[in-house]
């Protein structure tokens, strides 16, 4: 009897494994069909420029991957409809990495075999970081819309900047710099204080960038307080901040903590303006309107904020069955703009499409870009991270409203 059960169990396992295989089959066959589809639409006249699109288009994070892909394809289609670049159509070569670093490298090698000129991807930081060293070795122009890890463009262990790699999303600490600049330019702050969760990389990263930028701008940081995860009582730290009298308090934590900090600060009679990063989103549900009034935080994207974004939303909905685009689609669109502008520049130099000089010219074009996307204008710093505008969200009457691009 026991034997029978174990045999049955083994059978179930084998069947399960087979079923798993069956599921992956259509996925892998589906990807080539996607690029033959693109082949079919591309007219042969004048040749084509092949651009790889890599991302997680199936699996757990597919919604992000597909949004980036939709955004990027929307711009590529627009350029193709207007006659392409230098008479050449853009041919997207699409591969799915399922968010997996190993799959990403495999797909990347197949793309090289397919002869891509540039790569837009990947979507997740892990998959992107697996591909970057390979693309760097091949000096292939590469841009991601969504991989935020610092390691995507910069290898800290070897102190090596991946010069071929760019992105349109900003990395987390950039928000700290933005808010320091905002405090100086818009709020006219002379003194600042910070309160952060000390074990949280996100919060500490923003705070360090903020403090460094303050030093550069001449804002005096009078207090730098910390707390540990799970703390609910911040009054002692806030009393210290109050005693030092800061104009602004930078509080780049997650919204639940931020709400408690603001509430307790107001109880202690602190009137300074609170500032935060995109971890603040939803904070209005956790603290009183009058306590939050006037606080500001920055974010990468705000729906319906500018005329460009409104136009993008309308076009996107028309193209993709009324779907509402989010940050990922917008950044995918911007990534395509930055990349295709650089390709335009390379084409205008009369280089042979796909040659090494051509690729170097595309990389050069992105490095010195002056492209204007829908979320911002772009330029790149020494680590190839974008210098771009952030969205400033202000707390007004208990609502989180778009204030300005900054």
């Amino acid at each position: 009897m026991k034997k029978l059960i174990s045999i049955a169990l083994v059978l179930v396992l084998v069947l399960g494994a087979l079923a798993g295989c069956g599921k992956t089959e259509p996925g892998t066959t589906a990807t080539p069909s996607a690029d033959t589809g693109a082949n079919a639409t591309a007219p042969a006249a004048g040749g084509t420029i092949k651009i790889g699109l890599l991302g997680c288009y199936t699996g757990e994070y597919a919604q992000y991957g597909l949004a980036v892909q939709n955004g990027a394809l929307m711009y590529i289609d627009k350029v193709n409809a207007a006659g392409g670049i230098n008479g050449k159509q853009i041919e997207p070569i699409i591969y799915d990495d399922k968010g997996d670093p190993t799959e990403a490298v495999t797909a990347f090698n197949r793309m090289l075999d397919d002869g891509v000129t540039a790569l837009l991807g990947s979507v997740l930081s892990g998959a992107t970081m697996a591909v970057v060293p390979e693309a760097y070795a091949a000096n292939l122009p590469m841009i991601t819309a969504s991989a935020t890890a610092a390691g995507v463009t910069y290898n800290e262990d070897e102190d090596l900047v991946y010069t071929n790699m760019f992105r349109t999303c900003f990395i987390d600490p950039f928000q700290g710099e933005k808010m320091a600049q905002y405090a100086k330019d818009i709020l006219g702050a002379r003194t600042a204080a910070a309160i952060t969760e000390t074990g949280n990389d996100y919060a500490v990263g923003l705070k360090e960038a903020f403090v460094a930028k303050c030093a550069e701008l001449g804002i005096e940081v009078v207090a730098d307080e910390g707390y540990s995860k799970g703390d609910k009582d911040f009054k002692s730290q806030l009393t210290n901040i109050n005693a030092k009298g800061a104009d602004v308090i930078f509080c780049p934590n997650y919204y639940e903590d931020d709400a408690l900090i603001v509430t307790q600060a107001r109880q202690l009679g602190i009137t300074a303006t609170f500032m935060g990063g995109d971890g603040w989103a939803k904070v209005s549900e956790y603290a009183k309107a009058e306590d939050l009034e006037g606080s500001v935080y920055c974010s990468a994207y705000a729906p319906g904020s500018t005329p460009e974004i409104k136009q993008f939303e309308t076009d996107y909905a028309a193209k993709y069955n009324g779907e509402v685009p989010g940050m990922f689609a917008a950044l995918g669109y911007d990534a395509a703009i930055v990349l295709l502008d650089a390709i335009k520049a390379a084409e205008s130099k009369g280089l042979e499409t796909g040659s090494d000089e051509y690729k170097a010219a595309v990389i050069d074009g992105m490095k010195n870009t002056s492209s204007v996307g829908i979320t911002s204008a772009y330029s790149y710093d020494e680590f190839n991270n974008p210098i771009k505008s952030a969205v400033i969200i202000k707390l007004e009457g208990g609502k989180e409203v778009f204030s300005q691009m900054f």
Partner: protein, 292 residues
């Protein structure tokens, strides 16, 4: 100077909540020698009851406050009847493990029913703050300290002056002799749990005023700190729990004030170790000779 006064009031405010919770620990330990680790989670349930009443049902805050206190009281009695009473003759370790089990049960139940994220508590009390020697004392801080002190005075009167209080003291002194004297031990134990849990309910409301969020795990750290407060004061002693609670609150405020806020919890648990090493009976505790 004003900063020092502010910090003292910060310490007194959190200390009063610790003291109220520590009282529950101490009373239950005094009567059945049980470290009721589910006590902190009763506060969490109290906070959720208040949230449901005020935020969900839109009832006035006063109703929420009463509901939280009543809810905690009923929960305390239920836990005692369901989980602890059947184990009264068992080894004390079984009771302790059951208490930890109840604690996990309540936390996970809350997570299942209410979700893992925090719920935002509407304002329960509001009023103008007070300026005292240049320091700002918030209205919430004053209410917390005053309510906690009044509760402690009433509790002391109840234990020292009433018949039920006398019964409580008798049962904690010697359960068998108390039974021989005609005291209903079961009823007295239930009453002790009810009283401790009602204080936890008041603690829950005061905590929600100061930190207006309810989350499934809010009670665990609060409970542990109150436990340290009870041990510091001398577990089993009512005045000891009050002194311990305020001492822990002031210690935390002091540690944060000198810039070591990240070590706040470390300092609290270092106190626990020090007390156990130097004076295991705590500040007000009396030496009990172990009966063999």
């Amino acid at each position: 100077m004003s900063t020092v006064i502010s910090q003292i009031f910060n310490g007194l405010q959190s200390g009063s909540v610790y003291a109220l919770v520590a009282l529950g620990y101490s009373m239950v330990y005094g009567i059945i020698m049980l470290l009721n680790f589910a006590h902190g989670d009763i506060i969490m349930v109290g906070a959720y009851v208040a949230w449901i009443m005020i935020a969900k049902a839109g009832l006035p805050p006063a109703v929420g406050v009463v509901a939280a206190v009543v809810g905690c009281t009923l929960l305390g009695i239920t836990i005692e009847k369901v989980a602890y009473a059947p184990l009264r003759k068992s080894p004390r370790l079984s009771l302790l493990i059951t208490a930890i089990g109840i604690s996990f049960f309540l936390e996970n139940l809350a997570q299942l029913v209410m979700g893992a994220g925090a719920k935002s508590m509407p304002e329960i009390v509001s009023g103008p703050g007070l300026s005292f020697a240049g320091a700002n004392i918030s209205f919430v801080a004053m209410v917390t300290i005053v309510v906690a002190v009044i509760s402690m005075v009433l509790l002391t009167i109840l234990v020292q002056r009433t018949k039920m209080g006398k019964a409580m003291r008798a049962v904690s002194e010697d359960m068998d002799s108390a039974r021989l004297m005609g005291i209903s031990v079961n009823r007295t134990i239930s009453f002790t749990f009810a009283l401790g849990s009602a204080l936890a309910g008041i603690g829950a409301v005061l905590y929600s005023c100061a930190y207006p969020q309810a989350s499934p795990t809010m009670g665990s750290m609060l409970g542990l700190k109150a436990f340290v407060a009870a041990v510091l004061g001398g577990i089993g002693s009512i005045p000891g729990a009050m002194i311990g609670g305020f001492a822990i609150g002031l210690l935390e405020a002091f540690v944060s004030a000198v810039g070591l806020s990240v070590w706040k919890e470390g300092a609290v648990f270092a106190i626990l170790i020090l007390v156990l090493l130097i004076k295991p009976t705590g500040i007000m505790g009396r030496v009990i000779t172990e009966k063999v």
